[in-house]
Structure formats: C-alpha cells, structure tokens
C-alpha cells in the first residue's frame, strides 16, 4: 500500500513537470483562455436562444477540448526527445507516468473549464446544484484526460503531429454526436444510440440537468457512465502503452 502511495506521489511529480514544460507556455495559456470565448461567440451569434440553453454545450465543449488538447502529444514528444526512456529508468511504474500525464491534462482542463462556469455565475445564472456541477466537472475532466492518454498510446509514434491529427479525427466526430448542438432527447432513435457511445454526451446531459433541469438520462446514470468511461480509458491506455513500449523506445 505504501508502494502504491509512493507511486501516486511520483505521478504528481510527473504532472508537475508536464505543467512546467508543456502547459505553462504562452500559446497554450492563450489557447486555454481564448478558446472558450470563441466557442461562446460561435454558439451565440445568430442564434436566438437563452444563455442557459447555450451553457451546457459550451461548458461541455470547453472541457472536452482543453482536457484533451495537449495530453495526446506528450508521450510522442518524450519518445522523440528520449526523455521517456529517462523517466522509465527511474523507479516508477509505467502507470505512474501515464497517471502523471493524465493528471496534468486534468489540471489544465479543470482550470480552463472553470472560466465559462465562473462567467455564468457572474451573469447571475445559478446552477440547480453547484456542488454536483463541480463534482461533474471533476469527473468529466478526469474522463477526458484519460481519453487524452489513451489517444497518445497508438500508434507508437515519435511524431506528435501524427497523434494530434488522429486525436482530432476522434474528437471532432464525438462533438457532433454528443448532444452538444442538439440535445439527446431531440435526436432520432439512431442518433440517440450513436450519442450513447460518447462520454461527452453524458457530461452535456448532466450540465443541462444541473442548469435547466432537462436531461435525457438520470443524473446518476450520467455520473456512473462517466466513471465507467474513465476506468475503461485508463485501463486501455495502460495496456496499450505497455504493449507498444518496446517498439516506442527501441
């Protein structure tokens, strides 16, 4: 147990390193601040809908895109600079490093996704249950951060652009099928079936419930499915990274 605790502490060290090297950079911070603003403008301009209706999609997209923005490129980048080998020479398990990468994606995603949330509070729009919303934000960020480390696992490339391109191929379709633009209850049957395979669906559904008391799934289902997705992504990421590690460092 103490070994496990020690490895968690070392995950925090990896996360701290990632934040310093990959996240605390001017362009990344500017992206994090400007991205939600542009999303909001793209959402509101030309659409005559109340702000409460806009918020779930906006918070969902901001959280999803920021938590998965840098994560997929870290492992390829470190493979190229051989620093992954450096980390693996230290007394850490592979999951410790993956955990650190996930944690740094989570921290970045959470901080940025708090911005639209704070804006709503400033504009006087109160969620029905603030604690639940904060908890949902934490779980959703964990889930999307786990997806980002899964996206970094395959192919075992040392070219960050390859991973970023492939992750965009996964991320953009997910946004369109997740009830961000059209709520799930308004989708046709097949649309609902497709939406149910995206973790983003459950987060936007959860935010809709917590702001306008309209949702397709019960709130507990949204939470449980997000937890299940997170677990599945983490386990798959560890397995895939383990499987491709030899190829990656050789």
């Amino acid at each position: 147990m103490s070994g496990l605790k020690e490895q968690f502490k070392r995950s925090l060290v990896v996360a701290q390193k990632n934040v310093k090297i990959y996240y605390l950079k001017g362009p990344v911070i500017v992206f994090g601040l400007i991205f939600p603003l542009f999303l909001a403008l793209a959402y509101v301009i030309g659409r005559n809908i109340p702000l409460q209706e806009v918020l779930p999609g906006l918070i969902g997209m901001t959280t999803f895109f920021t938590a998965t923005s840098v994560g997929p490129s870290i492992v390829p980048w470190e493979t190229r600079s051989k620093t992954l080998e450096r980390l693996l020479c230290c007394p850490v398990a592979l999951w410790t490093i993956i955990g650190g990468d996930m944690l740094s994606s989570f921290i970045f995603g959470f901080i940025i996704s708090v911005i639209p949330l704070a804006l709503t509070l400033i504009l006087g729009i109160q969620p029905l249950n603030f604690i639940m919303l904060l908890l949902g934000l934490i779980i959703a960020n964990l889930c999307f951060a786990a997806l980002s480390v899964l996206l970094s696992a395959y192919p075992p490339t040392d070219i960050p652009a390859t991973t970023m391109m492939l992750s965009s191929l996964v991320k953009f379709p997910l946004v369109f099928i997740s009830g961000v633009f059209i709520p799930v209850e308004q989708l046709p049957q097949w649309g609902r079936a497709v939406a149910s395979i995206s973790p983003l669906t459950y987060f936007t559904d959860m935010v809709r419930q917590l702001f306008i008391n309209k949702g397709f799934y019960p709130l507990a289902v949204d939470f449980l499915v997000l937890i299940a997705f997170t677990t599945a992504f983490v386990l798959a990421a560890i397995k895939l990274h383990e499987k491709t590690l030899t190829k990656r460092i050789s």
Binding site: G3, E6, K9, R10, V13, V14, K17, K20, I21, S81, K82, T83, E85, R86, L87, L88, C89, C90, P91, V92, A93, L245, T246, I249, S250
Partner: protein
C-alpha cells in the same frame, strides 16, 4: 551477495531477429565491467533489460539482488543510468532536472538538496545550475546526465557509451569520475566502443557479438588468449616482400604496413632470429624492430569477426 548483476540465459527477440541470444554472465560487486560489441550486437538491448525498461523473452537477470522481471521498481531504486543519447529535459534547468530525478527516486527534500548541490559542485555545474539545459554543451549535458544517474546514490551504475562524442577534456573528466565512484564502492556496467577506455577502466570485459557472449575475462587474459595475434613490427633500409617471410615455421603471416613489415608469430624469439638472419643475408639494415602484444581491439575483432579480420 558477491554479485551486483547476475544474468542467466537471457534472450530477447524482435520479430525474427534475435537481439540477445541466451547470454549469461556475472558482475561482481565493486567491479567496473566492460560490455563491448559492434553496433547491433545486443549491448543496448541487454542494458535496457537489466535496467527494467524492456522485458526479456527468456532467462533471468538479477540486479542489486532483485529480479528485473519480478521487481523492476526495486531494481531501478538501486541503479543509476546514463543512456547512450543525452536525454535531460532541455526546457528545464540543471537543478530542475536533478530535482525531478531525485523526487522520482523518492528522495527526501533535504537529502535531495544536499546530493544535488554536492554533485553539481563536483561536476563543475553549480554555477550554471539555474540555466536551461538547452544552452549546455555536449560535455556539460553528459556531466549533468552522470549527476542525474548519481543523485539517488545508486549501488550500480549503467553507463551506455558515456564518453562517445565528447572532447578530450570532458571524456577524461568523466573517466576520472567513473574511477572515483568505483573506488567508493559503486559497481559500474560500462558499454563502450573505446578499447583504450575499456582497457583503462574495466576490471573485466564481456565481448558480445550477434547477441551472444564471445568472451568474458580481464583485459590481460583476453589478450593472453590471443597470442597468435602478437606481432613483430620491423622496418628495413629497403622495401621487402611479405612472401620472403612465409618460409619460416615460427611466422604465421607477414603483411606490409606502410614502410614496415608486420610479422604475426606465436614465437617472437624465433621470429626475431629469422628477421635478423634475413637482414644479414640480404645486406639490409634494420631500422626499427618492435615486439607488439595484441591490442584489445585485435582481440575484439578476432572474437567478433574472426582472426582474418585482424591479420590482413
């Protein structure tokens, strides 16, 4: 335990290629053990297995008393690694790099600060500790890598080509430090291409070729096992033909080497007598005559590519 590293029947395949083929050897505690081999011989694969980076397909290996397959974290807790390619974080300072490794090794803050300060001072990097590694020279980066490998005070040091591509001064400094840390009791596993370096530093040497161990012994014994590679190097006042020396039974082969004649023999005394007689008979003056022991490079070439690769 007498051995810092024990390897038994270690095997690793990459698809159809057998990178490491049932190799076995032991490294004694406090020893500098050289690992020599041509490119692609399996050196780096062996080091990666011993440092817990990749898993072998067969065999066993123990480092610092721990099974690399069963307890890779414990193994890594007791070792320091200087890899072949410089891999410090260039966007971090020297101090931040050391702190990162120290924290990942679980060092307490006070101990980490003490170790990092001492190492940076010893390796002449303390003045630049707050500079980004991006601006470091190759020599400085290599010294930093050694500091990073030593920050947790490991029992066993794995050094993969540590002086490769370094200027003379930096290479010499690193060799001095390797000797110093070995004298302090650290076991050193040194992979190198530099025969002179292996000769100077290593108590014993393993020569690996095509994934298998061709020989393990002291540099002196390896040379002694290859006495057919000793030769007499002589120059006469006139050019002579190698075939003039082939009739003597003590001479294995004679080859021209510039203006000199290199005469391979297992019996230098008889060969010298023949050379002197030959000079007298042909009215030649002997300008130089040296008896040369086989170099480690000769032994290496003989073991990895056959005797013919040396006597050409």
């Amino acid at each position: 335990m007498a051995y810092a590293i024990t390897v038994r029947e270690l095997t690793k395949h990459y698809g159809d290629l057998t990178a490491v083929d049932h190799i076995s050897f032991d490294v004694k505690r406090g020893e500098v053990f050289g690992f020599l081999g041509p490119n692609g011989a399996g050196k780096t694969t062996t080091i990666r297995i011993l440092t817990g980076l990749i898993k072998p397909d067969g065999g066993k290996a123990f480092v610092a008393g721990f099974d690399v397959l069963e307890n890779p974290i414990e193994v890594k807790q007791h070792i320091g690694v200087v890899p072949e390619v410089s891999n410090a974080y260039v966007d971090l300072t020297a101090w931040e790099n050391l702190a990162l490794i120290g924290k990942l090794c679980g060092l307490q803050p006070q101990k980490l600060k003490e170790n990092a300060t001492n190492l940076l001072k010893e390796f002449g990097l303390y003045e630049v500790k707050d500079r980004l590694v991006r601006g470091f020279s190759k020599g400085m980066k290599q010294r930093l890598l050694l500091c990073m490998a030593l920050v947790n005070d490991p029992e066993v040091l794995f050094l993969d080509e540590p002086t490769s591509g370094l200027d003379v001064e930096s290479a010499r400094l690193l060799r001095e430090k390797i000797i110093r840390y070995n004298k302090d009791g650290k076991t050193v596993f040194l992979s190198t291409h530099n025969m002179e370096e292996a000769n100077q530093l290593c108590h014993r040497i393993a020569i690996i070729s095509h994934g298998w161990i061709a020989a393990v012994d002291t540099p002196e014994n390896l040379r002694a096992q290859s006495m057919e590679l000793q030769y007499i190097e002589t120059a006469f006042s006139k050019m002579v033909e190698p075939q003039d020396f082939s009739e003597n039974s003590s001479i294995i082969k004679a080859v021209s080497a510039g203006n000199k004649m290199r005469i391979y023999t297992a019996d230098p005394s008889a060969a010298i007598e023949f050379v002197v007689e030959y000079a007298k008979k042909n009215n030649l003056r002997i300008l130089t005559l040296n008896c040369m022991m086989p170099s480690l490079e000769d032994v290496f070439l003989k073991l990895t590519r056959g005797k013919e690769a040396v006597i050409r």
